[in-house]
């Protein structure tokens, strides 16, 4: 038997079946990340609340979903919901599981970001008469978001690969499809290398996207092009309003 078949490798690399599996992986990551972020934001805000009625459920949520394996959560959702007469597709179950699980981790990241917003900024907003809700949306969230882009990037990167766990409930994403094809001709190395290459491609694309997001969020904090004017005396207008 051959050690490595280039023919096999390139056949699988060009396989529409595998390619669509990768698209499913991207889709699941994007949807779970966005929904997980929104749920995580809610949980982070609740956990920071002075009211125990809000903070305790949030603490329980994070404790539970970080403390049990995603694999178990997925199986419970997949096998449990039908017993309550709730019938959902495998895709829906996968996204629910990934979202609930990811939200617990994201909540902690978001909480760290909110804690890092200088208290003086919040006090200044209060002094101007902004409501707590306005302060959250206009001051705290935007400033916190900029701070947590790097760890959020970690999460997206991790989630791209964690989606493979959904294969346990027969979700046909990239990894599951690779394993299905292994049954066919037993080209384990070739298939898994193709899968790895796809994952690398997806994480690399995310790296670029993250850099763009970071670049945008850092705009107010870059000194260059703004030219620091130290001289208190106003000089004649020059062409320094570059932006």
């Amino acid at each position: 038997m051959q050690i490595w078949s280039w023919h096999g490798f390139f056949t699988y690399l060009g396989s529409p079946y595998i390619f669509r599996g990768a698209l499913i992986t991207v889709y699941m990551t994007a949807v779970s990340m966005v929904m997980g972020f929104l749920l995580g934001l809610l949980i982070a805000v609740m956990k920071r609340s002075q009211r125990r009625l809000l903070s305790w459920p949030a603490r329980f949520y994070v404790w539970f979903f970080r403390g049990t394996p995603l694999l178990v959560q997925l199986v419970v959702i997949y096998a449990g919901l039908p017993k309550l007469d709730i019938r959902l597709s495998v895709m829906a179950c996968s996204i629910i599981g990934l979202t609930l699980n990811e939200a617990a981790y994201l909540a902690e990241i978001i909480r760290a970001g909110l804690n890092a917003v200088p208290t003086g900024q919040i006090a200044a907003a209060r002094a101007l008469g902004l409501s707590e809700r306005q302060i959250a949306w206009r001051i705290a969230f935007p400033q916190a978001f900029r701070l947590i882009i790097p760890p959020l990037g970690n999460s997206v990167n991790g989630l791209l690969k964690t989606t493979s766990v959904t294969s346990v409930i027969s979700m046909e994403e990239l990894m599951q499809r690779s394993q299905i094809l292994v049954q066919d001709q037993f080209m384990v190395l070739e298939l898994f290398s193709v899968a790895a290459l796809y994952y690398l491609l997806m994480t690399t694309a995310w790296d670029f996207l993250q850099r763009r997001i970071e670049h945008y969020a850092e705009r107010p904090y870059r000194r260059q092009q703004q030219s620091v004017a130290v001289d208190p005396i106003e000089l004649p207008v020059t062409t320094q309003d570059a932006r």
Binding site: G120, A123, G129, L130, R138, Q143, P220, V228, A229, P232
Partner: protein, 244 residues
């Protein structure tokens, strides 16, 4: 305009304010001075409810500060505040910093707010910096922008909490100049500061605070002529020996 009636406040067992009373009329410029840790900043932050207090009452233009019925937003719109560390919103341009609260809190027309903001920026000499972010400005410029931001709410009174303490000596002057002009225009002002020169020139009255009590409350002329408590006289001598 502002009435302080026996205001008390404690942090745990430490009493910061031990019954402070004073009356500040419209158009007065009151400088609050005293040694560090005496409770000056806490006192001024009680006025716009940034700090809570347990005893006594404060009225701002007839509104009771310590009351469940009080609309804090309306109270804070009456009393503009300037902080020691400027606290311009770092993610917003100077113009957006100034326009934010009039738009969100007072819901004034956008065109009017923009015109008003530009007028204020001209007044503090920053019209060319409207579209920059705070980080691109010097400390003095940031503080002048912060004053403009507070004025954008058309407040009845301006509260200053050590507005020049974080600034280089040269920048102190440009900020004091803006404040002096504001006082000349008749703005009611209450200012916690160590700038005795400013107090001498601009203040109508001095409140000298020590260990949570208003020890002196007298016209500025009397205060600087030495017609004040022994404690204040010692403070003045020290400040004279250690300028800045």
């Amino acid at each position: 305009m502002i009435t302080l009636d026996n205001v008390t406040k404690s942090y745990g067992t430490f009493q910061v304010l031990k019954g402070c009373s004073a009356e500040i009329g419209r158009g007065e410029v009151v400088v609050v001075c005293g040694p560090s840790g005496s409770g000056k900043s806490t006192l001024i932050k009680c006025i716009n409810a940034l700090e809570t207090f347990e005893g006594g009452q404060i009225w701002v233009d007839g509104m009771a500060v310590r009351s469940a019925q009080t609309d804090h937003s309306a109270l804070r719109a009456k009393a503009g505040m300037v902080f020691q560390s400027f606290e311009l919103f770092s993610h917003l341009s100077i113009l957006d910093n100034i326009m934010l609260a009039p738009r969100l809190v007072q819901k004034r027309a956008k065109d009017e707010i923009r015109e008003h903001a530009k007028t204020l920026l001209r007044r503090v000499g920053l019209e060319r910096h409207a579209d920059k972010y705070p980080i691109a400005l010097s400390g003095g410029q940031q503080q002048r922008a912060a004053i403009a931001r507070a004025l954008a709410m058309k407040p009845d009174v301006m509260l200053f909490d050590e507005p020049t303490s974080a600034l280089d000596p040269e920048m102190v002057q440009e900020v004091l100049q803006v404040m002096t002009e504001l006082a000349r225009e008749g703005m009611t002002m209450m200012c916690v500061t160590h700038e005795m020169g400013f107090a001498r020139q601009v203040a109508t009255r001095i409140l000298f605070v020590d260990a949570g009590e208003i020890v002196d409350d007298c016209p500025a002329a009397d205060f600087f002529a030495g017609r004040c408590s022994m404690r204040a006289q010692a403070f003045l001598r020290f400040e004279a020996d250690h300028p800045g």
